[in-house]
Amino acid sequence: MAYSGRQVQFQDISVHLLNPRNLFRVDWWLPIIALSLAVVGWFLMYSAARSTNITYFNRQILFFFLGIAPLALFVCVDYRFFVGIAPLLYTAALALLVVVILFGTSAKGSERWLSLGPFRLQPSEFTKLITVFFLTWYFTKVGKRIKKLHWFLITFGLVAIPIGLILKQPNLGTAACLGPLTMSMLYVAGCRKRHLAMIMIMGMTLLPMLWWQMRDFDPETQTEPRVFFELRHYQKMRIYTYLHPEYDPSGSGWHTLQSRITIGSGGLSGKGYMQGTQTRLNYLPEHHTDFIYSLLAEEFGFVGAVAVIALFLLLLLRGLSFAYDSVDMQGTLIATGVTTIFAFHIFVNIAITTGLLPVTGIPLPFLSYGGSFYMTTMAGIGILLSVRLRKQTHTHTEMYSPIGHVAIYGKKK
């Protein structure tokens, strides 16, 4: 056994010098798909920024190039190193989440951040990636014992803390992301299917509770939550407008309705690039951030919308194939987790724009405007590449990376 007792995993870190030939071992398909999505994103952003503010376009290009830094970091450093220090990262993330609740500034009553000079630090953003590493650390520690019910349930205890802190901010979107992430990683980690089914059924029972909360909801009257788990007025409002989109035309109902009109009027082949009337005339708010897919669907029609969905699907399947090919459990879990984060963002964002889900702020990878999430996206791509790069090397003392060898696991015994 490589590790035993309380031995700390990251004690034997050694960094080897740059080895340029390892650069050629990097998978090329994933970067190509990612780059083509980024280019699609720039084209859309130019169209969106023309009717609002052209700096969105310039900045979006800048974000991509800034994002190469976290990408390179995760490609160069072995992912097992991050798994090793995952408990530390997890603790730090929790601390930052507490700090942001206490001292953070917020706008529009949602998402909080810490102001660090010109930068805005959104801890909830990178909490997603840290959760992936931390769960991987936990699952490799637990191993086969995950089949036992209490080890299975402890997983939810570990994830519940960041979810609770993020909900407190309040940031429903990011918190909701951690749920499917945990489920898919648990599944791949080898938990019992009946345990998972049990949790899902328990989740289903939330629906009657939601109904109980919404049963005498009146959008006109602001009421304070009577019980601690009761939703806030604006949260109920979102569910209400999802069910009755024609209500509250000034708020989220307007978004849903206009987004559907925008998409629907695009037709099979679209109105043509930069010809979208709905977005041009500012009928659809937020069309450069959360609702950018409506702009794509309006200007490029069904063909364009489905083509980009196919491109996203390629990205996700490629990421999942790394999990499939990886020989060690850590790589498998990490690739699954990161792919699930992408899948969640892509599915939920597009489902919102098409009116399948109620409106909440979930950005779309590569397409939505926003620096923080762009960094997370690029980091995620980097992690996937890192898993691929080191897929055959678990038995070797040497591991390949563009800057040579970063061995993190303990000495062979």
Partner: protein
């Protein structure tokens, strides 16, 4: 093969990963199906909606709350006002210049300015741009009749503020103006839009959150011409019209959110008394404050010269508006009741006497001889009594009645600056009264720390506080600065038996009252002195403010004559008439009425009125007489309380 490690994969993990992949594919296919449904199956319906831009959001402007005076008189309400607006996107680009020129000819606006405004909104062509606010009925009809020549130009009706009493209480009400960037950020959660009118001063600003209504919204079906309309009834309340400007029937889609009017604001202000006070101040610069001494309710806060807030909302008053905002002296925008500070002069003696009695520095029997002048420890600089011949031996009651300076020089030195400062602040002098009006001045009662801080970069001897400064402060001169409102609050404290009240204008405001500051004996003695002050001899000798006396009413009062320049400087002029206006003294008078309900506290300030007893006291007498005389005619005039 090496031994199995815990990082190795278990059997069957590939199978599970495949299932995750299948789930992802299913989700993406679901999205594809949704796009098919929206874009291919319902294309006809959605493109019809989008093509005509049929559905759009119409903002329904709300009206501001009505302001009522004490007896239910409406001071400010709303009327219907018509704006001419242009929607550039509805006008062919080639015609824009012609339309602008026509509008210049008919409405008298600047065509070039309008054109640049249109150009600035090129990226959002379907915004309503205001061409001219509040047009006359004739202009409105002319625009409506010439619709064929003015594509994109329409009229919209919305509620507009109206001030029914004109200049009366103008400064109190404040005025409305377009919201600026800073205010947009300040009130971010209230959903203001650029171009909204918000309270900029006075009550309109202080109670903006009460007065402002909540705008409504509705989704309307828009036609190629025609504008959906929000109309107002005669009272200025908005409602949604059933037909647009062209007479098309409107189909509001979904449920409109109706605008909500602002809450009414009931004031404690007695508008008749306010008008009378402003009448009395006509031609002067000054202020009259009338408070209910027991609660702090403001019955009148007159300040002259004043302005009509309607100037800021009515049509065709640009010249007046510019003149007001230009800051020309005398400043008509500044409410002298609480925004301007003056040395309190002899009014300060009331506070000094009360503090000294409370601190047992003197008793009601302590006598002091006034030879007409005063020196600290019998040497150094000589301070004079206002009466050069001196008052002789007198106790505190007489000293108050004849306003003997020498008596109070001694009293001030015995009390010391720290206790003077403490009691002055306790009674409301030199601290904000927290009245519900914006921009209140705190005034200043000088003290040691203040001087130290002021002269921090100067030599140490200039930071020290000297007894001579205490002497100056004792008669309310030097750096002491108070507002008329603060002095009225001070007087109210004497009238109501030793409580400091918080003055207020809105009836709903919480009545705040301090703990009892002065014992009954102290108040009794001070009241005796202030009563003697008003009495007219014989048999009693004539007090300094006998002109305020009203037979059959127990009035207490005190004059104040605050110097602007030194007395010796004024000796060069032969008589009071010859002194230049700006060198004349500030004339103060505070009065209290003890044996009527409500008990009043009145403060009168006439800028450069030269003599409190001669100028200000008769004004106060008039105010008190008027108030109780009109009160007798209105039987149901009980103190308003919060419902």
């Amino acid at each position: 093969m090496s031994a199995k490690k815990e990082t190795d994969r278990y059997e069957g993990v590939e199978n599970r990963i495949q299932w995750v992949g299948i789930a992802i594919m299913a989700a993406m296919v679901l999205l594809g199906i949704q796009f098919w449904r929206l874009q291919v199956l319902s294309l006809h319906e959605f493109s019809r909606l989008a093509e005509s831009n049929r559905v759009w959001q119409k903002r329904l402007a709300s009206d501001r709350g009505i302001i009522y005076a004490r007896n239910g008189e409406v001071i400010a309400d709303n009327r219907a006002s018509t704006d001419v607006v242009i929607v550039p996107g509805e006008c062919p680009v080639e015609l824009l210049d012609a339309v602008c020129e026509r509008l210049e000819a008919w409405l008298g606006i600047d065509a070039a300015e309008l054109r640049s405004k249109i150009d600035a909104h090129r990226s959002a062509p379907f915004t309503q741009l205001t061409v001219k606010r509040d047009v006359t009925r004739a202009d409105c009809v002319r625009v409506e009749e010439n619709q064929y020549a003015l594509p994109g130009v329409t009229t919209v009706v919305h509620p507009q503020r109206r001030y029914l009493y004109g200049e009366t209480a103008g400064q109190l009400l404040g005025y409305l103006g377009e919201i600026n960037k800073a205010e947009l950020e300040q009130y971010a959660e209230h959903r203001y839009n650029m171009g909204d009118l918000i309270g900029k001063d006075g009550l309109e600003r202080y109670y903006e959150s009460i007065l402002r209504g909540k705008d409504g919204y509705m989704l309307v079906t828009k036609y190629a011409s025609g504008q959906p309309q929000l109309r107002t009834d005669r009272a200025g309340r908005p409602y949604i019209a059933r037909r647009d400007t062209r007479g098309h029937l409107l189909f509001p889609e979904g449920r409109p959110v109706l605008p909500q009017s602002g809450e009414p604001l009931h004031l404690t202000l007695d508008i008749a008394l306010q008008r009378h006070c402003e009448e009395l101040l006509r031609g002067e610069q000054g202020a009259i404050v009338v408070l209910d001494a027991d609660t702090g309710a403001a019955l009148a806060l007159a300040s002259a010269p004043s302005y009509d807030p309607g100037v800021f909302v009515n049509r065709g008053m640009n010249a007046e508006r510019l003149e007001l905002l230009s800051g020309k002296q005398p400043n008509r925008m500044s409410n002298r009741c609480h925004r301007e500070v003056y040395p309190p002069g002899s009014l300060f003696k009331i506070m000094l006497a009360a503090a000294a009695l409370e601190e047992l520095v003197v008793t009601s029997n302590t006598k002091q001889y006034c030879p007409g002048h005063f020196q600290i420890d019998g040497k150094g600089r000589r301070w004079h009594c206002w009466r050069r011949t001196g008052h002789g031996a007198m106790d505190v009651v007489e000293a108050l009645a004849y306003s003997c300076d020498v008596y109070f020089y001694n009293l001030g030195l015995k009390l010391g600056v720290d206790r003077i400062h403490f009691y002055a602040n306790l009674m409301g002098l030199g601290v904000p009264t927290d009245i519900d009006l914006p921009g209140e001045q705190a005034g200043l009662i000088p003290h040691r720390q203040w001087k130290e801080k002021l002269n921090a970069d100067k030599p140490v001897w200039e930071q020290r506080w000297y007894p001579g400064e205490t002497v100056n402060l004792s008669i309310g001169q030097g750096a002491a600065a108070t507002t008329p409102l603060q002095n009225a609050v001070m007087m109210a404290c004497i009238v109501n038996g030793g409580y400091r009240v918080r003055p207020f204008l809105w009836q709903g405001r919480e009545h705040l009252r301090s703990e009892k500051i002065f014992s009954d004996t102290t108040i009794e003695t001070v009241v005796k002195g202030l009563q003697l002050c008003v009495e007219k001899g014989p048999p009693a000798p004539t007090g300094t403010c006998h002109r305020a006396q009203i037979p059959g009413m127990t009035i207490i009062g005190k004059t104040g004559t605050a110097q602007v320049v030194s007395l010796s400087h004024l000796e060069q002029y032969d008589d009071a008439e010859g002194i230049p206006y700006h060198q004349r003294h500030q004339a103060w008078f505070v009065a209290g009425v003890l044996d009527r309900t409500p008990r009043l506290s009145v403060c009168v300030l006439i800028e450069h009125g030269h003599s409190g007893g001669e100028t200000a006291a008769p004004v106060a007498r008039d105010v008190i007489e008027y108030f109780y005389a009109t009160r007798a005619n209105v039987p149901n005039m009980v103190m308003a309380t919060k419902e």
